[in-house]
């Protein structure tokens, strides 16, 4: 579906992409990981037809640069840093929907599903929204149309747990129908969303591996934590995960795809944890214990 053939990109004397060859098939959900300067954003910009380059980039045989209309109509893109647009959100949605030949109501529906009140933000300048609100709006634009190629740069970084859950569910709904390319500095952030991991370093692919994670992207886990003693820092962290409780007893919900990230967080407080219960279940269905 997507082919990068010997793609190189040089800025002045710095070689940012070095003969990258990569084939992406329909159904691939790729975590593109690597440190800063590894070449992830440059690779994405080549795929979006924004950078000139050596080698070949083709989407179903079409070069994005030469066939912008056909290729980009299929691409939903969420950048890591939202653009500082002064236009109101409504105008952004209107412009995006018109050039994508989509119904703005679909984009609005996704935005509202992610927990934003569209009527409240419609007239606000996009640049004045909080980081999470901007992210939700851009996700709405990307998912609220017929895009079978999703390119997302740290898409869930600014989302609260509830919005992350809905976002994962929206991705789950379309995971077999196209291609997802999700970049992140940390694999644990996106591990559950993907079935393939590609690591970049110094402009080259250094790892291309399959991931077999059977987690249901729409699932949620009920979690109960008992502490050996109260701790303010841990309480604040649990608050960020929307957990409730006080002193030594805490409980809350963890999105299935977030469980690795949650475990990583818990590992920092291992000495404080006296008891831990995680029970998995589909949303709305009874939970079956899997980890105690």
């Amino acid at each position: 579906m997507i082919r990068f053939g010997n793609v190189s990109k040089t800025f002045k004397r710095a070689r940012v992409l070095d003969a990258v060859t990569l084939d992406i098939a329909q159904g691939d959900r790729i975590a593109l990981v690597g440190s800063n300067g590894a070449g992830k954003t440059t690779l994405i910009r080549c795929l979006l037809g924004e950078y000139t380059h050596d080698g070949v980039v083709a989407v179903d045989g079409l070069a994005p640069r030469d066939h912008r209309g056909e290729v980009l109509a299929r691409v939903g893109f969420v950048p890591q840093i939202p653009p500082p647009l002064k236009m109101p959100v409504g105008e952004l949605i209107g412009f995006a929907a018109s050039v994508c030949k989509s119904d703005p109501a679909r984009m609005v529906a996704v935005i509202e599903e992610l927990g934003l009140e569209y009527d409240r933000i419609r007239k606000l300048p996009f640049v004045k929204l909080s980081g999470g609100m901007k992210q939700k709006t851009l996700i709405g634009v990307a998912l609220g149309r017929d895009s079978d190629i999703l390119i997302m740069d740290e898409p869930a970084a600014n989302l609260d747990p509830e919005a992350r859950h809905i976002f994962f569910r929206l991705l789950a709904a379309r995971k077999e129908s196209g291609v997802m390319l999700i970049t992140s500095h940390r694999l644990d952030e996106v591990a559950a969303l993907v079935n393939r991991v590609i690591e970049m370093d110094m402009g080259q692919l250094v790892l291309d591996d399959r991931v077999a994670d059977s987690v249901d992207m729409a699932s949620r886990m009920r979690c109960k934590i008992t502490l050996v003693r109260p701790d303010d820092a841990f309480a604040r962290t649990l608050g960020e995960w929307h957990f409730t409780g006080a002193d030594r007893e805490w409980s809350g919900l963890v999105n299935g795809p977030d469980r690795l990230r949650f475990m990583c967080m818990l590992s920092r407080y291992t000495g404080l944890i006296g008891g831990l219960e995680l029970v998995e279940g589909k949303e709305g269905a009874p939970c079956a214990p899997v980890v105690v």
């Binding site: 924004e50 939202p82 647009l85 236009m87 105008e91 412009f95 018109s98 390119i151």
Partner: protein, 275 residues
């Protein structure tokens, strides 16, 4: 609505929200108000009085400040948007590059020309209301000259924005261009070249090529047909082209120059990295 018109409308609405636009409109509207307040409609120069006198002064002020306003706001907007990451996102949408670029140009033309024109039109409307005669022929020619001047500097601005990789470089380039063209006005270097008896062909060529000079010469031509104030270069130009011929040249040349610069900018934009 076509993608070009959408891109143009987007640029217009973004500009209307920007602080520079308020300042820009205030300056050009303010100039007209100040000229009225200082009674320029009642003073006389070279036999000109009433609104003609005001328009002549207004157009001479425009030649000095309009180009730098257009250049700086254009490069700040276009190169600045690219630097801020707006191009990265907006050009990930399936909008044709030609529609994006030329839409931006059309949008910017509207926002830089309209305040200047509306200030002039406001002066004409007020003069009609006050029963001061409105010289509509002069008004029409000055409007056309302003269109030509605005278009040429907009073209330069788009070219500089396409060539420069940062807004700082673009602003420096825009300022230098304005300075060079300003220096080669008859008031400054051209005058010195004539006084130092440089080849007249060179002086005349520079006077013709410089869109600021062609604008100034044409504006003066309307109320000083012998162009006494411009000196020998103007005589040669008038002898070669005649008054009407020169006026036609002064309207067509900046438009051609601006279109050529904008087209070159478009080629650079299309061939290079977009964000």
């Amino acid at each position: 609505m076509s993608a070009l018109l959408r891109a143009a409308w987007l640029d217009i609405t973004e500009s209307l929200r920007a602080r520079w636009f308020g300042f820009y409109a205030l300056v050009f509207g303010g100039i007209v108000v100040v000229l009225f307040v200082f009674g320029l409609t009642e003073s006389r120069i070279l036999g000109f009085t009433g609104l003609s006198r005001l328009l002549v002064t207004y157009i001479q002020l425009c030649v000095a400040i309009l180009p730098i306003f257009i250049l700086i706001t254009t490069v700040r907007s276009v190169a600045g948007d690219r630097e801020a990451g707006i191009f990265e996102y907006m050009l990930s949408l399936p909008v044709p590059l030609s529609a994006w670029y030329w839409g931006k140009m059309v949008g910017r033309f509207s926002v830089v020309f309209l305040p200047v024109f509306l200030a002039m039109a406001g002066a004409a409307a007020w003069s009609s209301f006050q029963e001061i005669g409105v010289p509509w022929d002069l008004f029409a020619v000055y409007t056309a000259l302003l269109v030509a001047l605005a278009w040429s500097f907009l073209g330069f601005g788009m070219l500089i924005s396409a060539l420069a990789r940062s807004s700082d470089v673009a602003q420096t380039g825009a300022f230098l261009l304005w300075l060079v063209l300003l220096l080669f006005l008859d008031l400054i270097l051209l005058g010195v070249m004539v006084r130092d008896r440089m080849p007249l062909e060179l002086v005349v060529s520079l006077a013709l090529v410089n869109p600021l000079q062609s604008f100034r010469t044409a504006a003066i031509l309307l109320f000083d047909p012998q162009m006494v104030v411009l000196g020998p270069a103007a005589y040669v130009i008038l002898d070669s082209l005649g008054a009407k011929g020169y006026l036609a040249f002064a309207l067509a040349w900046p438009v051609c120059l601006g279109t050529l610069a904008a087209w070159t900018g478009y080629r650079v934009f299309r061939k290079g990295d977009l964000p």
